[in-house]
Amino acid sequence: MNIDLIFDPLFRLPFLTGLLLAVWLPVLGLYLRLRGEWLAVLGMAQLASAGALGGAVLGLPAVAGGASAGLLAALAKWGLKRPSDSAYAAMLLLGWSAAVAVMSNHPLAEQAAGAVFDGQLYFTGGGHLAASAAVLGIGVLVLVRAHRAMLRARVHPALGPPDAATRLAFDLVAGASVGVAILSLGVMASFALAFVPAWRVFGTAPSWRSALWRAIVIGLVAYVLGFVVALLFDQPFGPAGVVAVLLVARLAPPWRQRADRRAGALSAGGEIGKLD
């Protein structure tokens, strides 16, 4: 175990790349969960991984291949006649089959598969960092525009869904983000960062604003922990990242506000009043 590795300039770029994704994926995961599409992340990730491996065979740069495959996966999701968990599970199975088939039949794809499945964050470069910054920046812009309509569609469905352009923009940015993330963090670490913090805060955060902050904090703490552990023990980032996200989310304290308890007390008082 070499603690000096943590401060080695060689790992600064990979660390920053993962840091940006650790901020963005939990936020993206919250909005996907809001739409009941948390499984879509895994479906798109598997399709994107198959596309990225295909891109490697064709000699495309890894990040470009991943982002393009992610965009295609998003378009596949967009084109679903009846979006549902079953459809996303079918995407996942299809993506996995295609990825394994490509990987088994081409040595270049086999090499790229290491990055996609293990999460070889420490070998990422400037292209990965730029792509991560781009999906974060574009994603925030899309959410600033879509946030209100997406939440309103959940609590007041009778007011209608967000307009088609907004939904497509969100799906595309989600696909591109997943495509970039799997090539940096690995498929399952990307899924864990998008799924676990959102899962944890949905049941406990007192408001949407606090859910956003809380999910980001869980993602960041887990990422730093996973990065350090993987580096110190010379492991790929993927498994360390997944365990770190699960651990940090589990240890995150429940967050109940006084207003919640007051609302509960008022409601209980009302019931007693009725019984009287």
Partner: protein
């Protein structure tokens, strides 16, 4: 805000439904500052009328005219989507641009609580308020009295007695205590 007394929406011979008509030949005129109440048995198509005002595919016959730039607010009967959602009352109001001014004091205290921690009545009144106090021109209220206790019903009744001058209200209800024939235009729909 529209001038009080102005006609905001007019329907003639309206037929609504899904694959086949549920209701036909409905004439309706919604006027700013006035409540129009639709009464009728279950399954008569009252809720479908409310939906059809904003969803052209549900209008199967007749003509519908709306004032230019009309904004329709719709409170659906069922409160869905709030369970396991980290959203507080203040954020719910912000989503529709509704103001908290005028909210009954027994609800104003709960604005910072999660929606799924509120009682059914608190949630229902807050849902109603998020539509009623938002800048919509026409308010379609489908059974807004659901789950409300006596205090909530009294507050809703008071609001219906003096609706905002610039907004037209169309109300669907089975609760007779919310119907005031002297102040509202009442339309009875046969099964």
């Amino acid at each position: 805000m529209r001038p009080s007394g102005s006609v905001l929406l007019r329907a003639q011979g309206l037929g609504v439904g899904y694959e086949r008509p549920l209701l036909q030949g409905l004439d309706l005129q919604l006027v700013a500052g006035r409540v129009t109440t639709l009464l009728g048995p279950n399954g008569a198509g009252k809720s479908t009328v409310l939906r059809a005002l904003g969803e052209p595919q549900l209008r199967l016959a007749g003509q519908l005219w709306q004032a230019p730039g009309l904004a329709l607010g719709h409170l659906a009967q069922a409160a869905e989507g709030q369970a396991e959602l980290p959203l507080c009352g203040r954020e719910l109001l912000a989503l529709t641009g509704a103001s908290a001014d005028g909210l009954p004091p027994w609800l104003a205290d709960c604005l910072d609580a999660r929606l799924d921690r509120l009682s059914g009545g608190q949630l229902q009144y807050l849902r109603f308020w998020s539509i009623a106090a938002a800048p919509f021109d026409v308010l379609c209220l489908d059974e807004p009295g659901n789950n409300l206790d006596a205090r909530g019903l009294a507050a809703l009744r008071a609001w219906l007695h003096t609706p905002p001058a610039g907004q037209a209200v169309v109300l669907v209800t089975h609760d007779d205590s919310l119907v005031d024939a002297a102040r509202q235009t009442v339309i009875r729909i046969a099964s």
